[in-house]
């Protein structure tokens, strides 16, 4: 599987490459699978978490071994190392490091959160505790300084969104997952923003929600995503203490002029900065769920 350009599952070309990989499951078994990232010149957190999820899910490979060919762009390869992507890969994954290319990525970035696994509530609670401190460190707000109100609200929104994204994985996926977050400056405007991404290889939103909303078990996955996001449905039924996750995400996007992109199985949902929700259905089912959130920040 060859990926070019920017490593993110959201771009249509990359999504097609991932779809081809997933569709490969169940076909004739082969001895080796190559993930060729040599042509990648930029890596987003969403690419990190989705690719790592695929690499950590041997049952979808339809082969014994995987070779991961790293980007020739040195900046990209360095980032993969700094972001923790190369640590703890399954033993079946072999790293192929090509000759270096001194061209670094054209974006400047700060790591809010390197690639981090989410497997337990304790890990999540520890993570949430660290995020607040990390935000203050990164964005130059010392702990002694009283935060101004707009920044205090933005920070609360960011931390809450991360907490809910991770908690969704633990509560609903039936499997652990990954999270990563970076701060960037937009090329055209220079405006700072965060990309936060989570991914898991769990049961998917439809399977989870259908435990209590049985009729949704037969609905198209894109329609299920829309119902869950718009109505705040929860697999805990009518329990008023549950179903806060996507409401917090929507509120965070309003607070921080942001957007999010969600894929689960064959369903895709986009919550843009402006305009209505958009959904789409793909014939190839992604093995699990991933969510990419972008929020303006200082």
């Amino acid at each position: 599987m060859t990926i070019l350009g920017e490593l993110t599952p959201v771009d249509s070309e990359i999504a097609t490459a991932f779809d081809a990989l997933v569709a490969r499951r169940g076909r004739a078994y082969s001895q080796d699978l190559l993930f060729d990232l040599s042509g990648v010149h930029f890596v987003w957190p969403s690419g990190l978490v989705t690719l790592r999820t695929l690499l950590s899910t041997p049952e979808i490979w339809s082969c014994d071994r995987v070779t991961l060919r790293l980007p020739t762009a040195e900046g990209c390869r360095q980032y993969l190392g700094v972001a923790g992507f190369l640590h703890g890969l399954p033993a079946e994954v072999t790293i192929d490091s090509p000759e270096t290319n001194a061209n670094a990525g054209t974006w400047s970035a700060q790591t809010l959160l390197p690639l981090t696994s989410i497997n337990t509530l304790q890990e999540l609670e520890q993570l949430a505790h660290c995020i607040t401190t990390r935000l203050d460190e990164m964005l130059g707000q010392g702990q002694a300084a009283a935060p101004d109100e707009p920044w205090r609200r933005q920070k609360s929104a960011i931390v809450s969104a991360i907490r809910e994204m991770c908690h969704n994985v633990l509560e609903h996926a039936g499997a652990g997952g990954w999270i990563a977050a970076q701060r960037y400056r937009a090329k055209r405007t220079g405006a700072p923003f965060l990309e936060i991404a989570v991914a898991d290889a769990g049961c998917g939103v439809r399977t989870s929600i259908a435990r209590t909303h049985r009729s949704l078990g037969r609905a198209a996955e894109a329609a299920v995503l829309r119902s869950v996001v718009e109505q705040g449905l929860s697999r805990f039924g009518t329990d008023p203490t549950r179903g806060n996750g996507y409401g917090v995400l929507k509120r965070a996007t309003r607070e921080c002029d942001g957007s999010f992109f969600l894929r689960s199985g064959g369903g895709i949902l986009e919550h843009p900065r402006r305009g209505p929700l958009r959904t789409a259905e793909r014939s190839v089912r992604w093995p699990g769920t991933y969510l990419m959130l972008r929020l303006a920040c200082r």
């Binding site: 999540l124 609670e125 908690h167 009518t238 203490t241 509120r251």
Partner: protein, 188 residues
């Protein structure tokens, strides 16, 4: 609320949440009229679901009249929980079909979180301002004069705010020309 080992709680079923909720309800049950029960969140951050589990049933019981004349205030130094609590209370309100509001003491000031509309917020802010300035409660006449309302409309707003548990009638006094009026003070 007693903080468990972690400073952040994400599990609404955690024993600390259940215990704290039970403790608040018991204190409300035992308290006399005019009592404000503080709920300290110092040193702890709760997820939205935890706020919903902790405050939702308590505020619901207050709004439905289970504890007349008794109130809660969340004490949240640094306002680390305000954003999540507001999100949680709004969602909870939508789900149960009752407007739920909580007074939130951030140390620098008290704000309202939850299903708050502009009118409710303005009423609370007015009552607070009068009380801080004069040491006395605000009347419907004063609210009517401030916002150019009829006495009845102003009285309705104060009654509504009292029903939400954010102001209470601390005094009843006679008025010139006959009749009586309530003086409302903010829950803080």
């Amino acid at each position: 609320m007693r903080a468990p080992d972690a400073a952040v709680l994400c599990n609404p079923d955690h024993a600390s949440i259940r215990g704290a909720r039970a403790d608040i309800l018991e204190r409300l049950q035992r308290a006399g009229s005019g009592t404000v029960v503080p709920v300290s969140l110092e040193g702890i951050e709760l997820s939205a679901s935890c706020h919903a589990a902790l405050f939702g049933p308590v505020l619901e019981a207050i709004v439905r009249g289970s504890y007349p004349g008794r109130f809660v205030v969340a004490v949240d130094p640094g306002a680390r929980n305000e954003w999540d609590a507001d999100a949680a209370m709004r969602k909870y309100s939508e789900t149960v079909g009752e407007k739920l509001v909580c007074v939130w003491d951030r140390t620098d000031r008290c704000v309202l979180v939850g299903s708050v509309d502009t009118q409710v917020r303005a009423t609370y802010d007015f009552v607070t301002e009068i009380w801080q300035r004069t040491g006395e409660g605000a009347t419907a006449r004063e609210l009517a004069d401030m916002f150019q309302l009829t006495i009845q409309a102003a009285s309705n707003r104060l009654t509504k705010a009292a029903g939400l548990g954010i102001v209470y009638s601390a005094d009843v006094e006679s008025v010139m020309g006959g009749g009586r009026q309530n003086r409302y003070v903010p829950v803080q």
